[in-house]
Subunit: 320 residues, 4 copies
């Protein structure tokens, strides 16, 4: 048996910590932003770590991504066109009268035909220098498109859970007690299986010496995990006597800067990838005395309809 002689060490071991620490954010402010990122500022990060190029190219929106690809293409062609002109105007010789729109554009279009490896040949490198530059430009073009191929695949195959959370959580009557609840749906058509959810409550506490400290308690859910997630799922934390919310008023939650931190894990059925989703509700995102309306329309026999637009619908319900 492994005993610990220090009482203080044993206490510290039992304290829950999600990784934010107790000293962090003893002032007021949310820990997890609505988009799932952390509300933390990192100073003195190195340029490359801050840039994090691959991650950005993978996670930016599609219009942004294609914008950057196009910008790269135009800039690279401008750059090489200038190089060809610097290397001598006679370097590129057209077999036809392509000179009619000027030397610069001839060099520009030759560059684009080289970089994409189209190479019609009606403009072709005529000197050693121009040939050498074209030889490099074509290999750079191929590597750039190899990169684009990888990025496109990375963007598509990245495991993302498109979980939609209700905008607000509710505090509603539940059986013979009350419960804190929120609701989620899978916004995408592909199936999620083995969905698990963990909820923690972060609250500020005044220590005996008067300083503020942050305490985390995990909230027990009526159901932590489901095998399938074809419709909606209402997560329920019953406020029984052992709940940290037992006896709390809205004012108590506000005073302690309460924040519900949610971590979801699931498996995407199409690609068997693990996906994650983070969310948080602050004390002012709890509706007291409201319940979620059902999202089903079971009027037709044998086929269940879920109305995704009804996700945030609630109605008044007197608390127990």
């Amino acid at each position: 048996m492994r005993g610990t002689d220090s009482q203080l060490v044993r206490q510290e071991e039992q304290r829950q910590d999600l990784g934010f620490g107790t000293k962090i954010n003893s002032g007021f402010g949310r820990l997890i932003n609505k988009d799932g990122s952390f509300n933390i500022n990192r100073r003195n990060e190195s340029f490359w770590d801050r840039l994090n190029l691959y991650n950005r190219l993978i996670t930016m929106s599609w219009p942004q991504f294609f914008g950057w690809v196009l910008l790269f293409y135009l800039t690279a062609n401008l750059f090489f066109a200038s190089i060809y002109l610097l290397a001598g105007a006679d370097g590129l010789k057209g077999t036809t009268d392509v000179d009619n729109f000027g030397l610069f554009w001839k060099a520009y279009f030759f560059s684009s035909q080289t970089m994409t490896t189209v190479g019609y040949g009606h403009i072709a490198p005529n000197t050693f220098t121009a040939s050498l530059i074209a030889s490099f430009e074509s290999v750079i073009g191929l590597l750039a498109f190899a990169l684009a191929t990888g990025l496109l695949y990375g963007r598509f195959s990245r495991p993302v859970a498109h979980i939609r959370f209700t905008k607000k959580s509710v505090l509603a009557p539940y059986l013979d007690v009350n419960a804190w609840m929120f609701r989620i749906i899978n916004a995408r058509a592909n199936q999620l299986i083995d969905v698990q959810i963990e909820v923690s409550l972060s609250m500020l506490e005044t220590k005996p010496d008067g300083t503020l400290t942050r305490r985390y308690s995990s909230l027990k859910l009526e159901r932590q995990q489901v095998n399938f997630f074809p419709t909606n799922w209402t997560l329920v934390h019953p406020i029984t006597e052992d709940s940290p919310l037992h006896g709390c008023t809205p004012e108590d939650l506000a005073r302690s800067d309460a924040e519900f931190l949610i971590l979801l894990r699931a498996t995407d059925d199409t690609f068997s990838q693990i996906v994650h989703s983070r969310h948080s509700y602050r004390y002012d995102e709890v509706l007291w005395g409201r319940k979620f309306k059902p999202m089903f329309d079971s009027s037709r026999q044998g086929l269940v309809s879920v109305d995704l637009n009804a996700l945030d619908d609630t109605y008044v319900a007197a608390l127990n």
Copy 2:
């Protein structure tokens, strides 16, 4: 110790739920279709979520996929051919007499030579406008083929379990009791390891107030997991006294709209990917008093033969 003061909350926590909910489908109709998808209709899904483009391109059949690729290629060439013609008939100048099949087809073939970056050059862009369009078309062509590369790889590398389930399950004598059984084989030549199976039974129940509710109970299998899966595997749920099927007649199953829900997890040995498979048997897909015939042909010494065609073979066997 964590006690819960509410009796009702405790009861609710112990109720099994696969994620379908109790209210769903209180009418009659299957929960899981024969292809493993869910029998659920989603209303008000957004256009992009419903389209789910990448998923569709990955999961559609090969002829469909190549059909769409070809359609895109033809349409894009038609589009660019029209643009070249609009930009002026003198934009494309052939070095040879390629005009003999008409201006449109010259533009069309020039477009296809540009998009695939073949660029013979016997037709080449002759004006600033035509050169500019060609410069864009070639980069669009490269990105389109980058995308096709990613899609082809995604299609091939997607983890799929080709499990074949028997068309019907059986209710057969087993040792000194009866058992509900079904049988599976791996239809593909690559090996599956660490195969796990979970089976749940969904039944309608009449609540004291006369409304119908759905109850789920997990069925205990004689063996939930095997390390290797080289041949066939017969899954056996012995109907002992603690089974929800104990004492049930075919009529009981029909009345309660019984459905056996099956979730299989395994590891594909070639790529070390987790694969999943779902299946379901409804009450009318249970053969009462039949047993599966062995699939082995062990006539030859030292080599075992499995006849995949014998998967669904059964014979009459009197129930205990």
Copy 3:
């Protein structure tokens, strides 16, 4: 508590089964071949399942793979060359005197220039038909190379454990008892972490009614798992009183067609992929009364040398 009323069902549940079944291979012959595949013949497999094209192209050797790529390239060019000739000899018109090596080769090289999208243009399609064929050939060429890209990546990134097992296992003295042992090394330079091993012993047993049945027992190892695997690892099953090998002679093992089945799981550190390896030793691959020689050369201070060639070295050691 979940009791089972049938004694026979309870017995059956406790029987170990790796997934081979008891009836399989009641004759003599190994279950797992030396290359880790299963010694099972599958009849009536469908053509595509048997072909399993992607798997084969991924797992075949490099010379075979490049052979098939080349064969495809040559065949496809021959095919398209024939099509161009059938479509009319005047379809391809060279700007230079490329006719000097014959019409067929002109068509063949034009085809290869189109398929690879080189498209010099000194041979170019001159008729509508030839242009149309070339338009299709170039897109087919691009898709074929897209496929090759995916296959090359799939081949490289496939998680494979290059574990080398000793050719024979040994039965050696160990502390104050005897033990069955084998030894493994990681043949590759990349690190494996969290290596786990499971060993089962398969033996034939005569049932009371005189028929043969196969029994599987898992063998307890001195150590089932290591965090790191930088050198060699000797797996040791001590033959204590509760071992199925206790009191066995070489003749006993031969009579019961004994086979040691080994399943290894590990994580490749470079790509964080799970890798698997299977192996088996039959009764005639156990050296009785021999021990493995150390593979270390610790003559130099501060640096440990492992001699990979010493893997199979053993010496005589009297059994306890």
Copy 4:
């Protein structure tokens, strides 16, 4: 219950072993290098296993990688240029006066235009032999760029944890005892979740017979795992009575060649990949009687700042 009759076997089973073995490195020298690799020399490794081409191309630095790509491109062009010249000077015929920079460079640039599939056509293969060589070169070029595509994607998508460990660990006062501590931060902007850490202490021991043997003990941490890792994390091993460090002096650690071995596992949130990191601190990398300074700057309300440069900052603190 599974009893073991041999006392010695039972003792051996309880000995901890990370996979290094006890005999390894009984001399002095670190087990894990500062870069996380193992301090082991492998003799008689086969050429291909030692080369481990794919791994090297994936893990080398970016300048090195592009250097090798360029070197391959230049060498392959030189090789094919020589082949074209050997096959006859008349094989390549320019449509324009490209001969003005010599036969060799004409062949070289033709080769580069073929390999990258640019194929302007102002230099084109004129004989059967030259056409045949060009036909092979273009397919080799395509396969090489297919390979480069896969390698680029593999480099980008490889799961790597950019964890920065403090240069030194400290032995500091902690509550009412002392503790051995080190600190880590995530150097990258992408989030890590479910971070787990295991620490083992390796020490030399003198056996009764006077020989040295290495003993491993796992160190109990105040907290082994956190859900989120947005800021820094200080790992604390409290030196209570059951710690192997209890009562140790700096001299004791030096005499027993003590080394703290650290294994970190986490999940990269962007790609849901498992990432690993190894580290080690030797006895001379422990600062006795120093504590880590906080890395926070919580002066501004509602936003926490972490100063990454403060990772290694410590101050003097008298031990308990």
